[in-house]
Amino acid sequence: MSRHEELADDLETRRKRVLEMGGQKKLAARKAAGQLNARERIDHLFDPESFAETGMLATSHIPAMREKSPADGKVCGYGRIEGRPAAMVSCDITTLGASSSLTNVRKMGHLRRTAIRNGMPMIFLNETSGARIPDTMGAQGTGALGQDPEQFIRGREIPYVSACLGPSYGTGTWYTMLSDFVVMRKGACLAVSSPRVTSLAIGEEVQLEELGGWKLHTEKTGLVDYAVDSDEEALDLIKRFLSYLPSHAEELPPAVEPPDESQYDGSAITDIVPAERQKVYDVRKLIAAIADPDSVFELKPRFGRVATTALTRMGGKVVGVVATNPMFKGGALDPDGCDKITSFLVLCDSFHIPIVMLTDTPGFLIGVEGERRKAPGKIMNFMSALQMCSVPKLSIVTRKSYGQAYLNMGGSRNSDEMAAWTTADVGFMDPNIGVNVIYGVTAESDPQKFEELKAEISRETSAYDLAAIYSAQSVLDPRETRQWLLSMLDVHSRGRDRGFSRRALATWPTTF
């Protein structure tokens, strides 16, 4: 055997050892539990044969730990998803708990900088116990951290996406908080520290689900978009999300072949939306009836449900839809709904996705609880974001739109083009409430007077009144909605900027 062959054999042996990760026993236990390991996840995520690893032979910097730290617990590399490039870190929890160490933090930093420099999404597959001991022990351990002064700056030059596929503490959590899309496997935990560490710190038993479970994050905090039952579902959702986004901010979102418009039938719309304004309906059905077939991908579906935010396609091009949903709280916008819309505006503005707003709201939800949760600040964050957002903005008042909520949902000059359905009703507040506020008369105290006064303040609130002063540029039969949107998306395509937004929202934090 030549010296070259001996060296090649040695390299092959070392590589094989790395592929064994934390050992057969641990890998078998995962398989039995129905969980993919770090490398199986990569196989599921990336196109076949496209994965190129970086740092495969990196280990702990502590000599005695080298044999026990293949790839140092975080598998990093590049690959392709549907032919498009992406960078990815996949935590191998079978190796030292995929804890963050001096070496693997260096790997992740290099990966992230490479992804930003070359324009490809950054994907974090998290399952990590947090910081590694002893790497971060003492002043020297802690002082060695934080060597990259731009590590946590989010400029949205590229999309970031995260999957929480097991415990996620420390670095895994921090990058998740910076991500544009987050999916979680049920049973995983996303928190600052583990339940054990937290219990020790506060002297009280803390349960995983309560501290950082999927219900908390998909329904209460809104930090997670989707919770799923398996690793495969989580990885498929990441692929779906990225299919709507450009690889980087110097590129437009990927378009597909437009559907055949001659096949479109908008008649379902009038079955979905009742003409009576006190009746509710699920706006997600309306969005599906307007967008290209099977193109609706809702974000944060269980959080802030008074608002629906969804990536869709219209005529093959990516469009973000913001809608109030009367199905929940009557569509009255609450602080969570405002946060959800603001974060969606940030995503759309950062990646050049035109926005369509569908409005059917009795206004902002008023009450003590909302004020305690900073409702006025949330409303203005939302409003500022909308006005700073420089992608094309189209707005349609479908039924009710009152007061400041009218402006927040793109009313008047807060969108590039505005239409009102024939069912639209626009004013300073719901006339049923306005009669009481202005005249102190309720339907119960004096029914006849109430109806007279309601008729008086309900005058001149129609779509035609709005169109007469050109605040609405068009009045639409609801069935004409898609045709009008396609035509106006074409008109407002920002030809002089080649469709690119100014990205004024690109550095906005979205976890509020």
Partner: protein
């Protein structure tokens, strides 16, 4: 068998109770309709199960996050 509490998402009044104790429900079935913000707002079952108890009557005033029914899952 576990219990799932159904809470009101909004302050308002109970307008109509659409189901009875012992009825089986699927996720997102309409259990009752509230009136608030001059809208008829449905309360949906958060999961499949059997309705164990109603803690409000038609016409009751309710607060946000108040428990209004319990489902056995």
């Amino acid at each position: 068998m576990a219990e799932e509490k159904i809470c009101s998402e909004i302050t308002g009044t109970v307008w109509k109770i659409e189901m009875g104790v012992g009825d089986s429900v699927e996720e997102d079935d309409v259990i009752m309709i509230l009136e608030s913000m001059k809208m008829e707002i449905p309360v949906l079952a958060p999961c499949a199960g059997t309705l164990k108890e109603f803690l409000v009557d038609e016409g009751s005033a309710i607060a946000e996050d108040q428990v209004i029914a319990i489902v056995d899952t």
